[in-house]
């Protein structure tokens, strides 16, 4: 089966103020607090372009290897909807900011700047309107239909979001701040557009649903909506009733040219993007491609790795960070930027662990502590007496006790069960509160039983 998927990704930019007025670009529990005559569409109010948006959008366009259109011109896209104060949206039509790019092997058709409308809030039988979001800057990134599976779409979006976070233009705070229109066709059939899909997971679900549906029902060229509760798409409008937005120039905003200096300055500000960084990590630190990919998903994680890798064995550090830190974060549903781990803590911890001064178990316990609150590792280990115990007498005492208390396991081991040895080891660890040096301990038990 041939699947063709194209995405239109709308991403809110994290500027301080809105796109066409000085109102704060933020979310609030109190509706309509970040509003003014311009973003409420009062008669006589006029838009004024926030040029910081252009800087940020330019960086994205360059990161996606697009050609830049130097003429900036805005248009009005007309449709009536209560959340749209002017009943037209200011967007770019004839001349998008950028065209013809490439990202993660997917061709980028265009990238343009536009404003977000307000938000409808359904309360009982009422529909309320919150204009806090009205005028929030968005970039819309449109891809060619190069994506061939739902999984690939998800992968692409994750990489795109990573890149946007690296660029510092976007924060993955809520799923809703990334909205997609999804285009999908199978086996050269009609193209179906599904509008307003929130978040990456839903994009995958929509695609899986649509691919199944189109195999059963022949697809019409139409626009569908997505019901995220029922996980189904539904008919919105067919081609015949396609909306005509009657685009005209937004003549309250003069067109202007972007200078070469501005483009050069945006280019010079571009950070190393995730895939480039991953490649460098593999070369510089000789870590595996898998480790490199995971460690570059978040810029904070990548920075932590690099700092630690300068002091201790990078391969061991990479493995540890990926297996322990990343796992622990995902278990606790946390992001690197939400926790306060500094390189010193991490280096100290790994240093103690790799030099076998603390055990694997203690190291893991310490990890759980430091993702909650920052501590001085060395001091903490000392004060709580957490150093691995390799003292022969101490180990001898624990081993003897365990052997005496578990005759059955001893018997099983002697009959050839390796599991029983692990069981006995576990008992020793428990008895030592995790401090017994596991290697020494294992040797000692073996020695005692094999006598």
């Amino acid at each position: 089966m041939e699947v063709k998927i194209g995405l239109e990704v709308h991403c809110q930019l994290n500027t301080k103020s809105k796109l066409f007025c000085g109102c704060k670009n933020d979310v609030s529990d109190v509706p309509n607090v970040f509003t003014c005559p311009t973003c409420l569409g009062h008669p006589g109010a006029k838009p004024v372009f926030n040029k910081v948006v252009l800087d940020k959008a330019l960086e994205v366009a360059l990161a996606l290897k697009c050609n830049i259109n130097k003429t900036i011109l805005f248009s009005r896209k007309s449709y009536f909807f209560p959340d749209l104060p002017n009943n037209y949206q200011i967007t770019q039509y004839e001349f998008p900011l950028a065209e013809k790019g490439m990202f993660d092997g997917i061709r980028i058709t265009r990238l343009h700047i536009e404003e977000d409308p307000g938000r409808l809030v359904h309360k009982g039988s009422f529909v309320l309107i919150d204009y806090n979001r009205s005028g929030t800057p968005l970039i819309e990134i449109v891809t060619e239909p190069d994506i061939t599976s739902p999984e690939r779409a998800k992968d692409f979006l994750n990489k795109l979001v990573n890149a946007l976070e690296y660029l510092g233009v976007y924060s993955r705070s809520s799923e809703a701040s990334l909205r997609c229109d999804v285009n999908v066709s199978i086996n050269g059939g009609n193209r179906v557009e599904v509008k307003n899909v929130n978040g990456i997971n839903d994009v995958r679900k929509v695609l899986e649903y649509e691919i199944d549906r189109q195999q059963i029902q022949q697809a019409k060229q139409e626009t569908r909506g997505w019901d995220s509760e029922k996980c189904i798409t539904y008919e919105m409008r067919t081609k015949e009733s396609e909306q005509d937005y009657g685009y005209i120039t937004e003549s309250n905003l003069p067109s202007f040219e972007i200078s070469d200096i501005m483009i050069e300055s945006a280019e010079s500000k571009l950070p190393e993007l995730p895939h480039v960084k991953a490649k460098r990590f593999m070369g510089d630190y000789r870590i595996t491609p898998e480790d490199a990919e995971v460690l570059t998903t978040e810029i904070e994680l990548a920075d932590l790795f690099e700092a630690v890798a300068r002091k201790i064995d990078p391969v061991l550090a990479a493995r540890w960070l990926r297996r322990e830190l990343v796992k622990l974060l995902s278990l606790n549903k946390k992001k690197m930027k939400e926790i306060e781990i500094d390189e010193q803590q991490m280096t100290d911890l790994m240093d103690l662990y790799f030099s076998k001064k603390i055990t694997d178990k203690i190291a893991k316990q310490l990890m759980e502590i430091i993702i909650e609150k920052p501590i001085d590792i060395k001091k903490y280990v000392e004060e709580n007496n957490l150093m691995a115990v390799s003292d022969e007498n101490e180990l001898d005492k624990w081993c003897n006790e365990v052997i005496n208390d578990n005759p059955q396991a001893v018997d099983d081991y002697l009959k050839g069960s390796e599991n029983s040895l692990n069981f006995l080891m576990g008992k020793v660890m428990r008895l030592s509160k995790g401090k017994a040096s596991p290697d020494l301990c294992k040797d000692m038990i073996k020695r005692k039983l094999n006598k």
Partner: protein, 474 residues
């Protein structure tokens, strides 16, 4: 030839024969008590309004409050000068409706930049003047149902022009010093200035901030003063001009030091009522101009079509925000939002506004956009270039302002829309090109005023004032 001041209206000799310069000097010296003066002005305009319908709102309280302040401070370039504001320009806390029922009761939360500048210089805002709804018309007859049509100050059965009709009427009729702030998209300052026999100056596009002006055609709208004397026009223009951070299309306007050497009349503009032609030519000669003749064939043939398509396309989106949701007329909402929007708009706006919304929407729809909207933009460039060519050689172009005398209101009612649109023939081109122009009284035919129009090159607004220097004997 009759001058405006000698038209025989009852004027209070103590107060009225002053221009801004003299008046402000007397305010500053304490010779004129601004509160007392403002009270007389309000009494006068209330009386005039009851017969002529020039105001949608008279802002008595605001005016007296400002008058008290100015009386104390005695400062500002316009200290104590009574000024009326076209209804489509926002005055904070004062009902501003562009004479449309859909904005009935709407009180803006901010002052338009021009209003703020005027108040800052001590002007007294006396009211909002009636206009064609949102500027859609040339005779001030397309007012919302709850507004009254203003009458010509020289003949009550005739039109005072439009769309800034109330502004033109009160400027002529007021027995005191008066300046009105008008707005022109396709001739809405020049036309009522001509029909009411006053000065009406339309600056270059972008020279005066549009912040707080309810958009009609955003690429065409211009705010400008209407006054009894040239110098008053200039004084108010100097206060309101200049770049405004809140209007991105506004420009930093620098005085140009050029000279006015060569003038020309526009050949095609004189295919008008022969009496009008004679009066205008006489006036041009009386001004002492030695003129040549130029032809503007592209303007003559295509300006009206190009203008109509652009203005209506822009208007159809600019008016979309008026839907009864956040301000103005808001009946109880019992239906789906789209039905509600349709209901509110059908009930309130005039037929002319509906016509322009429908035509403008049509012109920008897929399939028609290339043939109408986009082509109109290209033609606009040709028109601008045609003017630019002429201004390489000439400093001022001249024409009658209107091809007709102020028509009787009863006659206008029976004209077809296209016939009405053609009345703007002489003012459309300059407005489309965004060029500065002034209409001044050239004389009278059968007791009705005739306007002469001077057109300057883009951003050379001061050339117009230079060309007319000394006209009022000042």
């Amino acid at each position: 030839m009759l001058s405006i001041k000698k038209m025989g209206f009852l004027r209070d000799p103590k107060w009225c024969e002053m221009d801004i310069k003299e008046f402000v000097a007397k305010v500053k010296s304490g010779e004129i008590n601004v509160v007392e003066y403002t009270e007389k002005v309000l009494e006068d305009i209330e009386q005039i309004n009851s017969n002529y319908n020039y105001f949608s709102v008279i802002t008595k309280e605001l005016a007296l409050e400002q008058a008290k302040k100015v009386n104390r401070s005695k400062t500002g370039k316009l200290a104590g000068v009574p000024i009326s504001i076209k209804d489509c320009i926002c005055v904070k806390g004062v009902e501003s409706s562009a004479s449309s029922d859909i904005l009935k009761g709407y009180k803006p939360v901010f002052n338009a930049t021009v209003v703020k500048k005027l108040i800052d210089e001590g002007a007294i805002i006396v009211g909002k003047t009636v206009q064609d709804e949102f500027g859609f018309g040339g005779f001030s007859m397309n007012v919302g149902n709850s507004f009254k049509v203003p009458y010509n100050p020289f003949d009550i059965v005739r039109s005072c022009g439009g769309s800034s009709g109330g502004s033109g009427g009160i400027t002529q009729k007021s027995r005191y010093l008066h300046v009105s702030i008008g707005e022109s998209t396709g001739g809405s300052i020049a036309c009522p200035a001509s029909f009411c026999g006053v000065y009406g100056f339309t600056p270059s596009y972008g020279v005066v901030s549009r912040y707080g002006l309810m958009d009609y055609g955003s690429s065409l709208d211009k705010i400008g003063p209407m006054a009894k004397s040239l110098d008053d026009c200039k004084k108010v223009f100097d206060v309101i001009k200049g770049h405004d951070i809140k209007d991105s299309t506004s420009l930093d306007f620098r005085e140009n030091e050029g000279e006015v050497k060569k003038v020309a009349i526009i050949k095609e503009s004189f295919n008008v009522n022969p009496k009008i032609k004679d009066i205008v030519i006489n006036k041009i000669q009386a001004l002492g101009y030695e003129y040549e003749e130029v032809s503007l064939p592209v303007v003559d043939k295509y300006a009206l079509a190009s203008y109509s398509l652009i203005a209506m396309s822009e208007a159809s989106t600019n008016l979309a925000k008026y839907c009864g949701l956040r301000y103005g007329y808001q009946p109880e909402m019992k239906e789906m939002y789209n039905d509600y929007f349709s209901k509110v708009r059908s009930e309130t706006i005039t037929d002319e506004a509906k016509r322009r919304i429908i035509l403008g929407t049509f012109a920008r729809m897929a399939g028609y956009r290339d043939a109408y909207y986009l082509k109109a933009l290209k033609v606009r460039t040709l028109i601008i270039n045609e003017y630019r060519q002429k201004f390489k050689e000439y400093d001022i172009l001249l024409s009658p302002t209107m091809p007709i005398l102020p028509p009787a209101l009863d006659e206008v009612k029976y004209l077809e829309p296209l016939e009405l649109y053609k009345m703007d023939q002489l003012t459309i081109g300059v407005n489309l090109a965004g060029l500065p122009h002034i209409s001044l009284n050239a004389g009278f035919v059968d007791g009705l005023p005739v306007g002469l129009m001077l057109i300057g090159d883009q951003l050379k607004d001061n050339n117009i004032f230079k060309a007319l220097e000394g006209i009022d004997g000042s």
